[in-house]
């Protein structure tokens, strides 16, 4: 049967959902999760399985019949996040008293993870979900904080999965892109690697 394992480490949640149809829908309650959520799709045996040669590729012929007890993973896909790295880094909050047209980005490790709170006024807040430019502006601000948050050899940077993922991404682009502990680190460049800047022709502000 198809199976998808759902994990939210921050709330110590992990569970498996299964189905037999050709389409699987995985749901969770927002009140049970916080921070990053991971999904691992795969196939699990729902009963003891014995596969003979006719059902399998020739590469298995030396070890046939193939047997697996109930509950064994036959196939596991790659781990998928339910949010992009950029989405995981930013949290937009409504700031009633904020001056119109301004955003303020501040680090927020109150959750124990690398995250930035973006304080926006009520007018901008309405566009948070639809406007990529706003998201990218906030990302530039967030990336500007990284040298301050993660000094060289800071163990917190090694423990934080988002920081690790960000480091891996940027390291793969070296020497064109520098890490936050380098003099030539460029927050705008890093932000637009995470979320490339382009103008959508269907942007409602056009025309």
């Amino acid at each position: 049967m198809w199976a998808a394992e759902l994990r939210c480490p921050k709330t110590l949640m992990a569970r498996i959902e299964t189905c037999s149809s050709d389409r699987q829908q995985v749901t969770w309650n927002e009140r049970d999760v916080d921070g990053d959520i991971y999904v691992m799709p795969g196939v699990v045996t729902n009963e003891r399985l014995v596969l003979e040669g006719a059902e399998l590729s020739a590469i298995w012929k030396d070890i046939l019949p193939l047997q697996a007890p109930r509950g064994w993973w036959l196939v596991r896909g790659n781990v998928r996040r339910t949010k992009t790295l950029a989405e995981s880094l930013l949290k937009f909050v409504l700031e009633e008293n904020a001056e119109s047209g301004r955003i303020e980005v501040k680090p927020d490790r109150s959750s124990g993870r690398l995250r930035f709170t973006v304080h926006v006024d009520p007018d901008l807040f309405e566009h948070v979900k639809s406007d990529r430019t706003l998201k990218i502006a906030a990302l530039v601000g967030a990336c500007g904080w990284l040298p301050e948050i993660f000094r060289l050899d800071d163990p917190a940077a090694d423990e934080d999965p988002l920081a690790t993922q960000l480091r891996e991404l940027l390291t793969s682009r070296e020497p064109d892109v520098r890490l936050w502990d380098h003099d030539l680190y460029d927050p705008a460049l890093v932000a637009t690697i995470l979320e490339p800047l382009h103008f959508d022709s269907q942007d409602p502000r056009d025309g």
Binding site: K10, T11, V33, N46, W72, G112, E159
Partner: protein, 296 residues
């Protein structure tokens, strides 16, 4: 509690915690003697200590000011006892944890995993007089303990106990250091163990396992959060607690090495099997079945 309040206040909480402790990794190894760095931190620490010494109302006013929260109830869960002594607060016995856990059973994990949620609860409880209200008793409850002759250590003790210290200790801190949060999580997980095993492992037994040894609890939490997240599958955790309970019964104690050994076994098994579809007997060591031809 209003989630918007948590979201709005998160960055202020972070800023306050970061500004009130000295971190060589952040400030630089050679800045411990630099007054430009240490003087502002010292002043903030003294301000906190003064608020604690002045009693519950002064302390809650101090915290509200730092977090920029106006007056009014914050929606903390009802405290089941009129008041906690400093000793009960610092090291809640099993019976007290059960009492707290039962009273707060409806709390959702999306809140209880957040350090700021617990700090806001402490502000409410301070204002309701749930702790001994004099400055002397508050200091004993919140700041006394390891290294408490130093201002930095007293400050860190306060931050750890009332919310956890995520800026320095990461996301395990709320589970390990914040005493009320730790009590809630132990009870919650013990309750989950009883439910998922249909009573094969009693809640009291599971709770005793989670309560008996602090390093063992911290190890279990650290592995569940960071290293072996597959053990958060409820049946896996229940089987781990069951095995720890057997050791506790036979030897009279468990320690973090027991947790390391058992969780490692489950980490390996989790690569190959779904714990949700494995029989309880297999999970608890009754069978060591392996697929005959699975060699990958």
């Amino acid at each position: 509690m209003d989630r918007h309040l948590l979201e709005r206040t998160g960055s202020r909480f972070d800023e306050w915690q970061r500004g009130i402790i000295f971190q060589s990794t952040r400030h630089g190894k050679w800045t411990a003697a630099d007054p430009r760095i240490t003087n502002p931190i010292r002043k903030r620490q003294e301000e906190l200590q003064a608020a604690i010494s002045a009693g519950a109302h002064a302390l809650s006013a101090y915290l509200r000011k730092k977090l920029q929260i106006s007056q009014g109830e914050l929606g903390a869960p009802r405290f089941p006892r009129p008041r906690l002594t400093p000793r009960e607060f610092q090291d809640p016995p099993l019976e007290l944890e059960e009492e707290l856990g039962k009273a707060w059973i409806g709390l959702r994990t999306s809140l209880t995993s957040q350090p700021l949620f617990w700090l806001l609860c402490h502000i409410d409880w301070l204002e309701q007089g749930r702790f001994d209200v004099t400055g002397h008793h508050l200091a004993e409850a919140f700041t006394a303990g390891h290294g408490d002759t130093k201002r930095e250590a007293r400050t860190r003790n306060f931050l750890r106990r009332t919310s956890g210290l995520p800026v320095a200790r990461g996301n395990t801190s709320v589970f390990s250091d914040c005493l009320m949060a730790r009590s809630w999580w132990r009870y919650h997980l013990a309750d989950q163990v009883e439910k998922v095993t249909a009573g094969r492992v009693r809640r009291r037994t599971a709770h005793r396992v989670l309560h008996t040894n602090r390093p063992a609890w911290e190890e279990l939490i650290m592995r569940s959060l960071r290293r072996i997240t597959v053990i958060n599958q409820p049946r896996a955790r229940a089987a781990i607690v069951h095995q720890l309970a057997s050791r506790l019964e036979s030897r009279g104690h468990i320690d973090k090495k027991d947790v390391q050994g058992i969780t490692l076994v489950f980490a390996r098994q989790g690569l190959r099997r779904s714990f949700e579809h494995t029989s309880w007997e297999d999970l608890t060591g009754g069978s060591r079945t392996t697929p005959s031809s699975a060699t990958t």
